[in-house]
Amino acid sequence: MDDLYREVIIEHYKNPSYRGKLDPHDISFADNNPLCGDHIQIDLRVDDGKVSEARFDGHGCAISQASADLLVESVIGKSLEDVKKMNRQDILDLLGIELGPVRLKCALLSLKVLKAGVYGLGEASDALVE
């Protein structure tokens, strides 16, 4: 449990490397976690079917913000097809922790936002991160 606040998470939360917005961008999507008010926006630039630039913005708990920073870092250079294949295990691997059902929602918000944007959906859904 103590590991939930592993230094890497606190570090990504306090000093994120990919916080910001991209203007112009090819893909932008935002959503929030209604339970706790976490909010994440992700902007992408796409070149030749691959993510060339990515940023996130938003506010919320350490888990939601650190996972967004780690996720954005991990998708730069990935093809959109590979992004579509990402799932909850990828996020847990990035964070390197186990999470209960409530905090899992915080951790998965950024992936949900990312995939909804990549799929071009009108509305993000939990089904994207099952």
Binding site: M1, Y5, I10, G60, A62, I63, C106
Partner: protein, 408 residues
């Protein structure tokens, strides 16, 4: 009379629970739901072991017994809030359903396009959304009594809203976020003077204060068993007889009818008219046992104990640099302390406290508009009840210093 907390704590088995090896739970989340004393757990258990049968109509021993227990519990609840008659206490699932019952029956029969309903900015979603739904359907208008910076209702604005002759004033007796205890009798009297009907959300007041519906002269009042030592799945709606009798029924089905023809029905009398289908019988029995338990301690004694703990908690919390408690001073509030801390998200605060077994709640506590008013997405909330101790408050304070360490 002061309350013997260590004796009381022995009545609540869960308070001995270790949530991790060697770490006992410090339960500071009673505003969300209270813990249950053994007497409630056993009353429900005994009901299933000895008496269980469906109520009414049955003529066998078990059915007679179950019916009697279900109705005795109603009598106890009625007496607890000083209702003139048990017929005025309708069992529902919870506060939310009680308020919805009024919105679906009384309000749909009595409100039309343009009619004004007054709510407040400190309402729980359960006293907002039913009226939003009605506004969308019927075109009623909603206005809100503002909340001041120190967490009180702005009664001056209320006065000017009353000049617009509202049909209904529906408000919370005690805020589940700020802890504010609103001057209900005064608000109700002024509403009546303006010709409005009143609904009181008593989810947080009935568990913690002596509430007397006749003294308040309230028209409808909603509360939940699970916040007052009883089980989940049952609550109550109190209503004035004339209003309840004039209202159309709520859900249709068995028990709520006097007579059914192929193409028509006649509704049953009070309170059954509003209780369709097989109700939560064991839960009603547990609800009655919870009232017995609260009576055995005394509501004044409970309120005094909570006041002492709250005063102590506010004092200690306010010592912490970077911590801000929302709501009024201890003399105007119940046992609730909602706070923000140094830019650390409430979820992170709650999670770190959880490592030491300290259970608080983090989020908007089903009062999103109130949080918006204060310009924050969420708060951390510690809340107290008759089994809370100063020692638990001390653990909370130590835990918050730990949060500071983690987030450096």
């Amino acid at each position: 009379m002061s309350l013997d907390v260590s004796r009381i704590r022995q009545d609540f088995p869960i308070l001995n629970r270790e949530v991790r090896p060697g770490v006992k739970v410090v339960y500071l989340d009673s505003t969300a739901t209270s813990q249950k004393p053994l007497s409630v757990i056993e009353a429900m258990n005994d009901f299933y072991r000895r008496s269980n049968a469906n109520i009414h109509r049955g003529v066998h021993v078990l059915a007679e017994e179950s019916t009697a227990m279900y109705e005795q519990a109603r009598e106890k609840i009625a007496k607890f809030i000083n209702a003139p008659s048990a017929r005025q206490v309708i069992y529902t699932r919870n506060t939310t359903e009680s308020i919805n019952l009024v919105a679906y029956t009384w309000a749909r029969a009595n409100l039309k396009r343009g009619d004004l309903v007054i709510l407040t900015e400190m309402e729980h979603h359960s006293n907002l959304v039913p009226w939003h739904m009605l506004a969308a359907e019927r075109g009623i208008q909603l206005e809100f009594i503002p909340v001041t910076d120190d967490g009180l209702l702005d009664l001056g604005t209320y006065k000017s809203l009353l000049a617009r002759t509202p049909k209904l004033v529906s408000f919370t007796h005690m805020s589940n976020v700020l802890g504010t205890i609103n001057p209900a009798a005064d608000i109700i009297r002024r509403a009546h003077d303006a010709g409005a009907v009143t609904v009181l959300d008593a989810a947080q007041s009935v568990p913690h204060l002596k509430v007397d519906v006749q003294q308040l002269d309230v028209d409808f009042m909603a509360f939940s068993a699970h916040k007052m030592l009883g089980p989940t799945g049952i609550g109550a709606l109190y209503g004035k007889t004339a209003l309840l009798e004039a209202m159309p029924p709520f859900l249709g089905g068995g028990d709520m009818i006097k007579e059914v023809k192929l193409r028509s029905f006649r509704p049953n009398e009070l309170p059954y008219k509003f209780e369709a289908g097989t109700p939560a019988i064991a839960e009603a029995v547990g609800f009655g046992a919870a009232v017995d338990y609260l009576n055995s301690i005394g509501m004044e004694t409970i309120a005094a104990h909570e006041h002492e703990i709250t005063e102590y908690a506010l004092e200690r919390l306010e010592e912490i640099p970077g911590l801000k408690v929302f709501g009024p001073t201890a003399d105007k509030k119940g046992g609730v302390a909602s706070f923000t801390f140094d830019g650390v998200h409430p979820h992170d605060v709650a999670q770190i406290l959880d490592q030491d077994g300290i259970a608080i709640r983090a989020g908007h506590h089903c009062a999103q508009p109130l949080h918006e008013k204060f310009g924050i997405p969420a708060t951390s909330r510690a809340s107290f009840y008759l089994y809370s101790t100063k020692d638990e408050v001390d653990k909370l304070i130590e835990g918050i210093y730990k949060v500071k360490k983690v987030f450096g």
